[in-house]
């Protein structure tokens, strides 16, 4: 994996070729110490969530395999509805998943770490 400096000093980690991310089907990807669930929407936008259920204490889970609809994700195990843009869980459930910014450059996808 490559790591390089971007403007602003954020560390970018390469997580794969753009072509390896199919539309509306998530993938699990490791970026440093965090497992991400990466999604490519039908309008081309890409988002990454931390790949843990928002109520991870109760449900360990995984999010990458959920059903993607517009900018929402239906979690694969408990069917919680999560907004991919900011990780906010929709009613009636509540909570929030950590999100990670992604950068697409020259056909490659990078995740921004802290």
């Amino acid at each position: 994996m490559l790591a390089k400096e971007e403007g602003g000093g954020a560390l970018l980690v390469e997580i794969g070729e753009l072509s390896a991310f199919p539309e509306r089907m998530g993938r699990r990807v490791r970026a440093k110490d965090t497992e991400l669930a990466v999604f490519r929407l039908s309008d081309g936008r890409m988002f990454a969530l931390e790949n843990r259920h928002p109520n991870a204490k109760k449900h360990p889970g995984s999010l990458a395999e959920g059903i993607v609809s517009g900018e929402f994700l239906y979690d694969p195990l408990y069917d919680w509805k999560i907004r991919l843009t900011d990780g906010v869980v929709q009613a009636p459930d509540e909570g929030r998943v950590r999100t990670f910014p992604l950068v697409v450059k020259d056909g490659k996808v990078y995740a921004a770490g802290e």
């Binding site: 089907m25 995984s62 059903i67 609809s69 694969p76 009636p92 509540e94």
Partner: protein
């Protein structure tokens, strides 16, 4: 921060936290909250400890508010520490560990503790109460090491503890001081019936026994009674009542009696200090049940937030015994008095007993045993002191007495008024639930639970909530609480309309269907997309453009996702018949990929559990066996008995026929999972009665049973027909499967489907109409011709492995 009112809650149990939930709802920003809890746990559902003991729930299941809940609301939570002093002058509290906190408002919610009999030996190890998670853990631990247990106290708590210990494998005796069980809730006839039922289940019951001493040297060894007799026991549970925890209040100079004295607004004698729950004494009464506590909490919350409330005036209590499979209920005044009369309906055949107590023609209470379906009405009537009408009389006398009326009778929710309480624990009315179903689109018990807390505590109102869903949603409610079958919030179209439109407009892709049919959410949701994908594939087997992104994870990845994100792999073992060589191969794969668990499934297959997602393609490649579809809405397994091949009773070759049927119909998409069985004789060792399609061989041919289910809703299969030859059997099976595929709602099992469209209609289409049967078989053949093994498809495709299974590049 500083202008907020400082609220200190002493006690992190159900009453206190429920009060706080009310407060947060009414005035989210008003208070800066600190909670002190003695137990080292977040708020959990104490009532359901008996389920934990019984094994039907885990500790995790009964957590009501996890730590995140406190964190998200900015509540300071201190657990495992106990408040030991309240300075009502300085308005501060101090804990055992030396923490101090000042308050503007303090709420005492210290609950109660088990009453320990003041007898010799009561402090011996092995003598415990039944109150906290720690008690539960002690009981489970004791059950592993010891054999016999005695429970002192034949009330609600004692019986639940006893039943739980019995479930854990102990030999249990209930010792009760009074001459009948649950004397505070049941009259003599009901108590007698309860005793007989418990004894029938293997519990020993002793009544009229006064315990004088706990025997034992280093650990409890038994009990001695006032009459001189003894009972050996390795564990003694004291469940002879509860005592309010009022010491802290008393030591702090707050007025106490049996409990902490409060007025109608839950105010104690100290300014700014309130009390709620089992620790209080209100108008001379203490309560040990959940509903009154919640009623108090609601009043206190309103009072503290400045909302209007008339105050708390006491509760009419009702009781339900939470032992699986036993309906025991009482409400209000249940004993006969000089000025009361009762209506009693006793049915020794069905072992039910109902009694309604009347004073001046008005209902003041009653008892139900064996059939508690009238419990809501009885509570309601007793609370309102309703005058008995002929309708009420009819419900009481007629209800449950005749057979076949079950469906129409239900739980009586239709007759309830909007402000009648459905969930007594959380105080949720029928109006709130029905309003939410209509306006917020609530479609499942889970959703209603999440939004209102109904069903969350004891769970006793779940059947009523389900009835309300059925009543309000009509046919679109599927009963299993999973999804409104065929439709969702994205469309107003029903299943049949959608299928007709897909056929007429020749729609072959999910996205196309959602656009053409005017879906309100352009990309649909997790309910409609898998359904649409199924209907399209069923109608156009050759031309459908199967949409992987619209399949549930299990069907997309051809393995069953587990709660930790790993998967289970079940290879196809036709008819459950394998070989030593095949078993060796499975064992080698399991070892190589460090599969944490290998288990036999209920359908006679082997399940490799805990396989990592990225290992799936390699595991399949090395197994080199077809997918067993243990994840699919398709034919799961054909279970078989040994049959005439080896069995001396066998009349037909059930293994051979099972394998043939499994090979023929495997991989076919269906509305829901589909299970089969083939038996070689009517002894039915492979259990045809609980299968979607169950076949029983006899001397002259085969019997075909359909619509059985052993899952959520137990349903015995119906006899569809008898056939003489193997060819007929295969043809009718094919026609049945295809008819179900074409008319079933997505996610509808055959058990519900057969009931919805009727066995006669199925028989007419599949058996009687010979031409129709042929046509159904042609269509099923056409669908079967398109199928290929999904595991092989992935093993052969690098791209699929990379995009779907996260194959990592080096």
């Amino acid at each position: 921060m500083t202008n907020k009112t400082k609220l200190v809650l002493i006690g992190n149990g159900m009453a206190g936290v429920q009060t706080l939930e009310h407060i947060i709802k009414l005035a989210p920003e008003k208070f800066d909250v600190t909670i002190f809890g003695k137990e080292p746990h977040p708020n959990y559902n104490r009532i359901q400890l008996s389920y934990v003991l019984e094994g039907s729930k885990t500790m995790e299941d009964i957590i009501l508010n996890d730590y995140a809940w406190y964190e998200e609301r900015g509540i300071r939570l201190v657990v495992g520490d106990e408040v030991v002093a309240i300075d009502t002058e300085r308005k501060t509290v101090r804990t055992a560990a030396g923490l101090e906190a000042s308050y503007d408002v303090a709420i005492l919610a210290t609950g109660s503790k088990p009453f320990r009999l003041p007898i010799p030996g009561a402090e011996l190890p092995g003598v415990i109460g039944f109150r906290e998670i720690a008690d539960c853990e002690a009981m489970m631990d004791a059950a592993k090491r010891y054999r016999s247990a005695a429970v002192i106290g034949g009330g609600l708590l004692g019986l639940e503890a006893a039943r739980g210990l019995q479930q854990l494998g102990m030999d249990v005796t209930v010792v009760h001081l009074m001459d009948r069980l649950m004397e505070r809730q049941l009259d003599a006839p009901a108590a007698g019936m309860l005793r007989r039922e418990l004894e029938r289940r293997g519990l020993n019951v002793m009544t009229g026994r006064k315990t004088e001493a706990v025997l034992g040297e280093e650990r409890v060894a038994g009990l001695r009674f006032a009459d001189g007799s003894t009972l050996a026991a390795d564990l003694v549970v004291m469940a002879a009542g509860i005592v309010p925890n009022a010491e802290l209040a008393k030591a702090s100079g707050i007025e106490t009696g049996r409990g902490i004295r409060v007025d109608d607004f839950l105010r104690t004698s100290a300014e700014g200090v309130y009390a709620v729950g089992e620790c209080v004494e209100h108008r001379g009464v203490t309560y040990g049940l959940v509903a009154p506590l919640y009623e108090q909490g609601a009043v206190l919350a309103k009072h503290l937030c400045g909302a209007e409330t008339e105050g708390y005036i006491g509760s009419v209590t009702s009781t339900k015994l939470k032992i699986s499979g036993m309906d025991v209920f009482s409400a209000g005044e249940f004993l006969d008095a000089e000025d009361t009369e009762s209506i009693v309906v006793k049915d020794p055949f069905k072992n039910t007993y109902k009694k309604v107590v009347l004073r001046d023609g008005r209902v003041v209470g009653g008892v139900l045993f064996g059939d508690a379906s009238l419990s809501t009405q009885l509570t309601k009537w007793s609370k309102a002191q309703a005058a008995l009408t002929p309708e009420m009389h009819g419900e009481l006398v007629g209800g449950g007495g005749c057979c076949g009326g079950g469906a129409a009778k239900g739980t009586g929710v239709a007759a309830m008024a909007d402000d009648d309480i459905v969930c007594g624990c959380a105080g949720v009315t029928k109006g709130t639930i029905v309003g939410g179903i209509r306006e917020q689109g609530w479609a499942s018990v889970e959703q209603i639970k999440a939004c209102t807390n109904a069903t969350r505590s004891c769970g006793g109102c779940k059947p009523m909530v389900e009835e309300l869903l059925k009543l309000t949603l009509g046919a679109s409610y599927d009963g299993a609480g999973a999804a409104p079958a065929g439709i969702c919030g994205c469309t107003t179209m029903g299943r049949d309309e959608i299928v007709a439109a897909i056929r007429e407009k020749r729609l072959t892709h999910v996205r196309e269907a959602m656009a053409v049919l005017g879906w309100s959410q352009p990309e649909g949701c997790s309910k409609c997309r898998p359904a649409l994908n199924y209907y399209i594939g069923m109608l156009w087997p050759e031309d459908a453009d199967d949409d992987d992104a619209s399949r549930f994870v299990n069907e997309r990845l051809h393995a069953n996702i587990q709660k930790d994100g790993t998967f289970s792999v079940i290879p196809r073992i036709y008819g459950g018949v394998t070989t030593a060589k095949e078993l060796k191969k499975i064992a080698e794969v399991a070892e190589k990929y460090e599969v944490p668990m290998v288990k036999f499934t209920g359908g006679q297959r082997l399940d490799l559990l805990g396989v990592k997602k990225e290992d799936l393609p390699a595991v399949w490649a090395e197994l080199d066996m077809p997918s067993g579809y243990g994840y699919g809405k398709s034919l799961r397994t054909v279970k078989t008995c040994v049959g005439s091949t080896f069995c001396r009773f066998g009349t037909q070759d059930s293994m051979g026929m099972g394998i043939a049927l499994e090979k023929k119909f495997e991989r076919l998409n269906m509305p829901a999972k589909f299970k089969m069985a083939v038996n070689g004789c009517p002894r039915n060792c492979a259990e045809s009665g609980t299968k979607d399609l169950g076949i029983v061989g006899n001397d002259g041919g085969w019997e075909i049973y359909v619509g059985g289910n052993g899952g959520i809703k137990l349903r015995g299969a119906d006899l569809l027909c008898k056939v003489k030859t193997d060819e007929e059997l295969i043809e009718i099976s094919g026609a049945f499967i295809q008819y179900y595929r074409e008319t079933g709602k997505y996610l509808e099992r055959t058990s519900d489907w057969v009931e919805r469209i009727g066995l006669d209609a199925v028989r007419a289409a599949v058996v009687d109409d010979v031409e129709g049967r042929k046509a159904l078989n042609e269509r099923v053949e056409q669908a079967l011709a398109q199928l290929e093994d999904p595991w092989k498809r992935v093993v052969d495709s690098e791209t699929l492995q990379e995009t779907l299974f996260d194959k990592v590049h080096s």
